[in-house]
Symmetry: C2
Subunit: 145 residues, 2 copies
Amino acid sequence: MEPELTIQQVAQATGLSVHTLRYYERCDLIAPIGRSTSGHRRYSANDLRWIEFLNKLRLTGMPIRQMQQYAELVRSQPDSGFHRRRQMLESHREAVLAQIQQLQDNLAVIDWKIQHYSELEVTLNDSLKTPPQTHWRSLSKGESA
Amino acid sequence: MEPELTIQQVAQATGLSVHTLRYYERCDLIAPIGRSTSGHRRYSANDLRWIEFLNKLRLTGMPIRQMQQYAELVRSQPDSGFHRRRQMLESHREAVLAQIQQLQDNLAVIDWKIQHYSELEVTLNDSLKTPPQTHWRSLSKGESA
DNA sequence: TTAAAGGTTAGAGCGCACTCTAAGTCAAGC
DNA sequence: GCTTGACTTAGAGTGCGCTCTAACCTTTAA
């Protein structure tokens, strides 16, 4: 009934490597996984859901330390203490929003530069089609390009 | 006339450490900086602009390897080859946009969880104000929280 | 029955981007 | 003259997040 997954299957499903899955378990991001009689890990559907959520945290840049804290909260108070967990997620949320903002701000400068290069290319092309009146080298102003 | 800056001043202005500034020069992200008679670095306004732009690339997550390539292009063809440079920036731009998209997607799941916790807290508060009819523990369904 | 495929562990190694250290030079102020 | 403090270098060390290795065990299919 419970579809018990092998470490390979979980790796496939989550995009994490089997190495990483074992590593996460070792550093308590994942609670000890059930074993088959032979000692091999058998992941439950719940385990998979948890790992998938961990992965969201990871992909939004949460450091392992923080994920460890969060995991510890979930493990120690699975049925209460939502407030503290929510706080953690909300403060992480703010950090991610700030990061997105910073990416966008800095990207704007890069966009501006791309635009600048486009214009230089157009001007350069024009000066190649029509015989150059002025020396095209005068286009560049300093080496800050 | 040219305001020659010390490494300290550039560090202040850019937010990079003096260590990092020397490190960037060592690995050719920054062309060799002019020196005072005593051998101390003296940064020009142009140097500063370049470092500030580098910093934008860095803050948008461009790896040092790529910045090295870009810097090499600028150094080898300061007055031409805009096309290649523009290509690099555009492909980086796409990568950053994809990254922002991924952050937003994953953040949506985290937001959903925050919402979920909020609701649990409200329900929990209610059940504390009015005498509990059902055991509040029944709120949690599994440990995938 | 035997080979291949997949699992286990403890622990070492890696790539990145810094960050720091040690030993020395130099300029300014007391 | 001497101390203080900012600078120089080459090279070592750090923290993060994996990633791999070696030696061994189990399951499966031919």
